[in-house]
Symmetry: C2
Subunit: 192 residues, 2 copies
DNA sequence: GCCGGACTATGACAGATGTCATACTAGCGG
DNA sequence: CCGCTAGTATGACATCTGTCATAGTCCGGC
């Protein structure tokens, strides 16, 4: 039936994204993805004839649009939006996720870049695209807040850099304070 | 002879660190490490009875002390040291490395954290330790420049977060500008 | 009723992984 | 010369990987 069809396909994409967050690309086994997704193994071959690359690519794309949606959600929720508040909202959500999942999951995009930047250009491109998908709504929000477009581009990049790095350091330490730290320290730069 | 002994052992550690930078922990195969290091396969078993975990652990430790040495080198070279100049020096060196190696290699510590934070606590701890080894000389330099210790701790963490994140973004884009960007944008915060 | 397409099931494949057991070589001290 | 130890060599092990071939099931349309 078409409901389980869509169910299985997107379950696989979602579960792949989660595995990427846990163990990176190389550490993500398709058999485990299938079993954790509760999907039949045959669905892999059926929905993703492009193999693992296609699956990982779609997982990254999904992650990018999901992150973008979260950004827009935060923007909508803020009564008096400022760049630093937007950044704080994004960072806080990640910190809560790290806490809730005991630092087991990071950013799927970062994981893919680190694993594949030199070994798999298809995946690298997908990660790059996901990053841009994520960054765009941030840039737009900053423009909305009165920053010149050129400046907004720089600031959104700065935010993502600081966030990605803080995620790595936080997971290494098993301590979310680096996330709060970058949010706090970047505030004056973002709001200047 | 004892020269080749030391030679083989540290060659293996070094080569492992390089592979970590390329492909992460899971993507680093011991057979390839051995062959790229030009070392006999039997040496693995001989020098690293603890297996892959030990090898990766020592590679991370080596990377940490190497990075720390680079920091101290930069500090020594600066006539009128400021936090932002130190950060710029560190960042520039990474940017040059990315360029020279065509974005093929990132930070071994970040790679290990992302691959193993949830799957291998031994490696995660080694990565955490390496990060601290790296951060310490930065903190000390900042103290030397007149920052209160508490503040220096925060700033050194901020630097590493921004750097690690910029490395990921730069490798995704195959473009080093994010590195220069974080250096430039963080300057006022660092020097305040 | 039955044909055709979408989906699933399962097993096999070649290759790579980390680890271990075993045997070998060299060199040094007795 | 013998024995000991550090280092090397090599092959085998079980396990896991992604991929593919094949056959099966289900269901709507003719």
């Amino acid at each position: 039936m078409s409901s389980s069809r869509r169910g299985h396909r997107e379950r696989l994409v979602y579960e792949t994204a989660q595995q990427l967050r846990r163990a990176g690309v190389t550490g993500t086994g398709l058999r485990r993805v299938v079993s954790d997704a509760g999907a039949p193994r045959g669905s892999l071959q059926h929905y993703f004839p492009g193999g693992k690359d296609q699956l990982v690519g779609e997982a990254l794309q999904w992650s990018g649009t999901w992150a973008a949606a979260r950004v827009m959600h935060h923007v909508d929720r803020m009564r008096r939006p400022t760049p630093s508040r937007l950044f704080a909202a994004i960072v806080d959500e990640w910190a809560a996720d790290l806490d809730a999942r005991d630092f087991s999951r990071g950013c799927p995009v970062a994981a893919s870049v680190i694993d594949c930047a030199d070994t798999n250009d298809t995946v690298r491109r997908a990660a790059d695209a996901a990053l841009e998908t994520w960054r765009r709504p941030i840039t737009e929000a900053l423009v909305e807040m009165g920053r010149p477009r050129r400046r907004a581009e720089r600031l959104s990049t700065l935010m993502l850099c600081a966030l990605e790095g803080a995620l790595v350091v936080a997971r290494a330490r098993r301590d979310t304070t680096p996330l709060g730290l970058v949010a706090r320290e970047l505030a004056p730069v973002l709001d200047a």
